[in-house]
Subunit: 135 residues, 2 copies
Amino acid sequence: MNLKKYNFKYIVEEKQQGILRVFDSKEIPFKIERVFTVVNASSGSKRGQHAHKKCLQLLCCISGEVELVCDNGIKKTIISLTPKNEAILVPSGIWAEQNYLINNSVLLVLCDQPYDESDYIRDYENFLKWKGIKK
Amino acid sequence: MNLKKYNFKYIVEEKQQGILRVFDSKEIPFKIERVFTVVNASSGSKRGQHAHKKCLQLLCCISGEVELVCDNGIKKTIISLTPKNEAILVPSGIWAEQNYLINNSVLLVLCDQPYDESDYIRDYENFLKWKGIKK
């Protein structure tokens, strides 16, 4: 499914000054055109449930745990996103869902495209048609 | 002190699916070269305490509350960063500190420069000299 993994700096600071994560453009295979974050999602909530025609998204869990389900229309892959696990680059043409497993998980997403509603496929049947899997 | 304020999309989702924040490059006055996040800093911890010679930093608190202290060597400005308040663009040549007021606050910082240690001034006396305020 071509889900590339990326390791970003994870620095535990002294004196309980927290955890610093650094995402440097040199380590990212595209120019960052959009950043979004999700906070305060209740444990058990499901987000995403759409595909992008063009947009690439690099998903990194910076707190808690988020289960990422990627579906190319033929098979599904499930990946656990946590602060200690790798970030995952979700290519275009993948139906992706995120299941928030822990309250107060925080997801950071870096994108190669600005927001464009016409880039979203929000209906699974349409996704299968767009992929040429279903007529 | 030329601290510009930015409002980014703040979307409270239905069904307790969390809060989405969107930082689109069209709304940001520079190309994003680096992104960093701070999580798990204990309430009362102090971060930053340095200035940048060139780097611009856009600071946005996406959870909790962080007090931002900006000092140009002559005067100080204190700003409360919260998810509902604006993000603050800290220009270069400002000594900045962040005081984490609430456990589990999350700070997102967007930068116009990749990491370069020579861009940091980490000593306050050197900062005053670099500013030409002290000889």
